[in-house]
């Protein structure tokens, strides 16, 4: 069964280990600003919400790409950007309604969560199990995707 990231914001303490691990995995440096997963802080309530690409079924980013630079990794189901093909046009960054594919000025390409090829480092680094990588069956993450997708009318025509 394919796995997916399960995020439980209630368990997040805002320690940012996931951002450190992600940036190290993808850039070789501990630089949270270059992490593909981002922890949002709600100061008023003292709450935290880790957030990244849901590898959504609609894959707006993939469909909008003019040069076929985004494809589905058959083993993980992740939508993955090919650096060789990406020309940096940024159309995917406005097409993804979740804001989770972003342009990196340093490389001139876009970056997004690739599930680390099946061993997501954010989940491995999270000390409180706020991020886990589990069977995709019906996780809270699925619910989150579903609720986010439901809120988007353009998702409605994807059936079939």
């Amino acid at each position: 069964m394919q796995k997916s990231l399960h995020i439980d914001p209630g368990k997040c303490t805002g320690c940012l280990q996931c951002e450190m691990a992600c940036s190290y995995e993808h850039t070789g440096t501990f630089n949270p600003s270059r992490s593909f997963i981002k922890v949002f802080t709600f100061h008023d309530e003292g709450r935290f919400a880790p957030y990244t690409c849901t590898q959504c079924d609609e894959a707006w980013c993939m469909r909008a790409c003019p040069v076929d630079a985004i494809s589905i990794d058959a083993s993980t189901g992740a939508k993955v950007v090919s650096d060789d093909k990406c020309v940096g046009c940024k159309v995917c960054t406005i097409a993804c309604p979740f804001g989770t594919i972003n342009y990196a000025q340093t490389t001139g390409k876009v970056v997004k969560c690739d599930l680390c090829g099946g061993d997501p480092q954010c989940a491995a680094a999270c000390p409180t199990d706020a991020i886990t990588y589990i069977d995709a069956d019906w996780t809270g993450y699925d619910r989150m995707m579903a609720s986010a997708a439901k809120s988007l009318p353009s998702a409605e025509t994807t059936a079939g």
Partner: protein
């Protein structure tokens, strides 16, 4: 079932692929008149800076992909559509039958009536053939005049600068990209361009182009200026390719008028992409948007409906993103605002930072930004989901950069204590 698609751009190709998925046994053919395999106009700027070669502009691997999907690709021009006989006539005189037809013929560049635009130094930038001509003439150090600082003009502006030409841009509007950015954002773009050594003339038009010595032309401007150039590029708008529908009685305006299923006034004929005048998410009116994301969404929705599996869609959101020599700008939906709506804005001209949000009551209906690249897609999410922002509206009014926070707080179950 015979599905016939006219036009081998993104709208046509996405439609063919979607049809194959939803109707595995159907006959599917794409007829396109350009000599190259199906390619993406959007990739042309990256071809011009030699970031990709021609094959890098191809929409799919032309050898393997269409064959594997059992999609026939025909290189021909369609001259005529007969909705009564349900066939089309190709330039070589042959006919092809269809059960369902998709018009995805895109648009063609148009020029204002300026004398001299027929000179060999003048080109539009619309096709790969145009791109080859521009690449030949836009040599490092040569003078280039770009007529039009609209979206397409600004898109190719960056490629021209990167080729090392001396560039001057002429725009009749009072600012750059007047149909995508407001005064402040357009003003930021203009001062940024000038800082990069690009000549920018706004509220100015070209009066004539005349041949001069040594393969050069003279460009006369309405503000009295005179420019010498090796290449003049026109980016002065496009018009939908509708000729092939002459005599069919299909309703057209600026494009083929289509309903929420992308269906024209003839139930067997659909339209998608730059040629289609479909429902706009924000206004509910039928509009030609002429952007890539709309072309692909249209293609998909049309195909699902042609296969009998579709739904009505909610209209496509107009949106653009632009990189002007390193300064990224974008706009979404009703970025110019609505009557009686509130707006929030953060403007820092020294840092080239701008974000503007437009509300209708409690919901976000439009947005634009300059100098921001992170999480901009969520503006689409906020607008298309029509979220009632509640408290978050006030928070966004106070700090419009909190778009991602607002979206997460309003859509996710933050299951904490």
């Amino acid at each position: 079932m015979k599905h016939l698609i006219i036009g081998a751009g993104p709208a046509g190709v996405i439609a063919a692929e979607t049809l194959r998925k939803s109707d595995p046994d159907a006959e599917i053919a794409i007829i396109g008149d350009e000599p190259e395999p199906p390619y993406s106009r959007m990739a042309i700027p990256y071809y011009l800076i030699e970031n990709v070669d021609e094959s890098g502009t191809y929409l799919r691997d032309p050898k393997a992909h269409f064959k594997a999907q059992n999609i026939e690709v025909v290189q021909q021009r369609v001259d005529k559509v007969d909705t009564g006989k349900k066939n089309v006539t190709l330039a070589d005189g042959k006919t092809r039958d269809f059960d369902k037809l998709l018009i995805a013929t895109g648009s063609h560049p148009i020029s204002p009536p300026i004398p001299g635009l027929d000179l060999p130094q003048v080109h539009s930038c619309w096709t790969l053939e145009d791109a080859r001509n521009i690449a030949r003439l836009a040599q490092s150090g040569s003078n280039v005049v770009l007529i039009g600082a609209g979206f397409i003009g600004c898109i190719i502006l960056e490629a021209l600068v990167k080729r090392g030409v001396n560039l001057t841009v002429i725009e009749t509007g009072n600012r750059m990209v007047p149909r995508m950015l407001d005064d402040k954002a357009g003003g930021l773009l203009e001062s940024w361009c000038k800082q990069q050594g690009i000549g920018v003339h706004t509220s100015c038009s070209v009066e004539s182009v005349t041949a001069a010595d040594g393969d050069q032309v003279e460009v006369a401007l309405s503000d009295g200026g005179n420019l010498s150039a090796a290449l003049v590029i026109t980016a002065t708008g496009v018009k939908a390719n509708l000729d092939l529908l002459d005599g069919t009685g299909i309703d057209t305006d600026f494009g083929v008028l289509v309903n929420k299923r992308m269906q024209s006034s003839d139930e067997n004929v659909y339209a998608a992409g730059d040629v289609a005048q479909g429902v706009d998410f924000s206004t509910g009116n039928q509009e030609v948007q002429a952007i890539q994301p709309t072309a692909t969404d249209h293609g998909r929705i049309a195909a699902l409906n042609m296969a009998g599996k579709g739904d009505e869609h909610q209209g496509t959101l107009n949106m653009n993103v632009l990189d002007t020599v390193g300064l990224v700008s974008c706009s979404f939906g009703l970025w110019m605002g609505v009557d009686g709506g509130d707006s929030a804005e953060l403007y820092n001209a020294d840092e080239y930072q701008y974000i503007n949000l437009q509300f209708d009551g409690e919901t976000l209906v439009g947005a634009s930004s300059v100098g921001k690249t992170q999480h901009i897609g969520v503006l689409r999410g906020l607008i298309e989901s029509r979220i009632e922002l509640g408290d978050w509206k006030q928070k966004l009014m106070a700090d419009p950069t909190l778009i991602m926070d607002a979206y997460i707080a309003c859509t996710q179950e933050l299951g904490y204590a």
